[in-house]
Symmetry: C2
Subunit: 410 residues, 2 copies
Amino acid sequence: MNCELLAVGTELLMGEIVNTDAQIIARGLNEHGFNVYWQTVVGDNPQRLREAVETAKRRADVLVTTGGLGPTADDLTKETVAAVFGRPLEMDPVQLARLKERMGPAMTPNNEKQAMLPRGCTVLVNDWGTAPGCAFEQDGCHVIMLPGPPRECAPMFRERALPYLETLCGGVIGSRYVKIFGVGESSMETLVKPLMDSLSGVTMAPYAKEGECELRITARAETRPAALALCDPVVEQVRAILGNRVYGVDVSSLEEVVVRGLQQRHMTIAFAESCTGGLLAKRLTDVSGASQVFGYGCVTYWNEAKTGLLGVQPETIRQHTEVSAECAIEMARGVRRLSGADIGVSTTGYAGPTGGTEENPVGTVYIGLSWPGGETVLRPDRRYMRTREQVRRSAASHAFDLVRREVLGL
Amino acid sequence: MNCELLAVGTELLMGEIVNTDAQIIARGLNEHGFNVYWQTVVGDNPQRLREAVETAKRRADVLVTTGGLGPTADDLTKETVAAVFGRPLEMDPVQLARLKERMGPAMTPNNEKQAMLPRGCTVLVNDWGTAPGCAFEQDGCHVIMLPGPPRECAPMFRERALPYLETLCGGVIGSRYVKIFGVGESSMETLVKPLMDSLSGVTMAPYAKEGECELRITARAETRPAALALCDPVVEQVRAILGNRVYGVDVSSLEEVVVRGLQQRHMTIAFAESCTGGLLAKRLTDVSGASQVFGYGCVTYWNEAKTGLLGVQPETIRQHTEVSAECAIEMARGVRRLSGADIGVSTTGYAGPTGGTEENPVGTVYIGLSWPGGETVLRPDRRYMRTREQVRRSAASHAFDLVRREVLGL
């Protein structure tokens, strides 16, 4: 089925916000076997909104609108869609009662407008905000209207719109997300291409994001568990091809894998950061529950902090500079000693835009690791590092990946 | 003039990436007095692309396309636009030579396609990638084609497309960006509304983003300095209204203001972080040049790190818990002593989603400050804090703001 997304909102048109709703919905529709052919953005303008709805009615099997369901006079989506499809709006008493209960004394007369819905529609109950969504079919076009704020739109799409759409096409979709670090997108695609081409009944789609890759593996079946059971053998085939560059399945991040792995093993970790400047600690503590495995981090930007706080030998820095394998190892050892943690991890390098030497240009980073199983230093490939942000992010990701592989054996 | 943005790319349509180009261009056009009425996304499909271009030709004064200028067979934008507007593509020898020089031995025959441009167009030279952009006017419609990758599209729009468009409307635009912290968007709008309504020849637009606000003040004049000279008195009026909630003009962030302020005063800063878990150090070291003012940071997530590393008294934690004004002050003092920095800043709180007490629920944060001018503790308002990420970001922003106001007097 051919889908069109229509986002309604002057704040999008003026560039005040970015249209993340469109990405979330487009990706979700594609994963469920719907083709998205058009995305359009219009402002809170009745004529242009009407033109956009009429165009979509003519060319799409499914029209998904976002935004314009709120209480103010600017919010025109339901009125316009209802007019184009010839369905009068009617007060829904259940939604009105719900609104009144939710809003309490903040309920004003214009808020009642949110409970006006097209006659005969399926109500998409909004547990994440005030404006309900709705869905109906007319003249061969399925219309779904969702609220605009992303923290409402994303769950409304996932929990309300997708189940509605699944009833249209028989069966449900199940997906596994294979997360990959340490191989570029094009190399990964080359490696998995033969498998991808050999699949039937299961699809595989690659994505690249912030120095990592992801493979989405999707199948359709009568039930979600049955669909996932079709995906799982393909996940194992991907693991066989990519080895431990696969860092997890259906997990959110490298740092989450590290936190969960350390929790299971009752191990603790400490950081001594120079070039990453706190990013390792920040990313680890983004994971709820990090406090079980992480108690100490040091940001030692200056050499006197490396020597004074971590016990790096001044002679090491004199002989090798602070951006060296030798300094990285002494930092990792030092923070382990200081904190009593099982694992010490360090970073030292040139994040740029200035600094660096001929031998160690901007982008060079050494990552040190010290743990009961031994010590090691990693110097990641510095190609493709364009900005300070990229250098720092890549260094932090490599540090987490080193812990995952060397210490956790994952 | 009425503008339409047309993004071409299947990866956008499938939701693999978000359309940040549209936001950057829409905002830039609006700031320069152009009205954006439509944004459309189509895939690399010749029929639908042609339909979109024909529609835009009919209804827009300015059509800006992004994407589809590359070397592969999928890249169809120039071919389709040229066909709709009846302008043949011709090889541009200057751009071909430039391409050959830029690509060297990586130059393949299909790359030559990138130097094919519509007859009589203005070439928009691409210093950020291989595919040149172009602009022309025909039948009352101005067409501008830009490459899709955001790191090329953004500078191409700013440095090439905007100057071209400015020639169309006489005069140039100058804008000042007033950055504001410590007041919500709606309160700020209420405060500046009388000034906003009284302006003529100068426009003022509010934006809200990640716990901060911004006012863009814009004027048009013969030259950029003349336009800015019209803005500057309005900037002063805003300062008079909002006081030191204005943390800077034309600056990027609170942490940048802090780094520059410390550099000027030859002062140094150190961090003792609990709930922010490295975010203070990370944000400060996002600013290039931070190493001049920052040498030491400690992430003391556990109480034994607070006592052992920073010298917080165990009795203080027993009596007041680790989330208390007393603990925050001892942490700030401790890291100042440990590092020898002029300023010590600490954070301790409940970032959530679990933890907290009745008296200090999730979202409660204490920020400690110790410096030669004295000591202080801040407990920011915890309302509006919904997620762990918001609590941590807000705590870090409040810490930088405290340093700015108390120490730097900015």
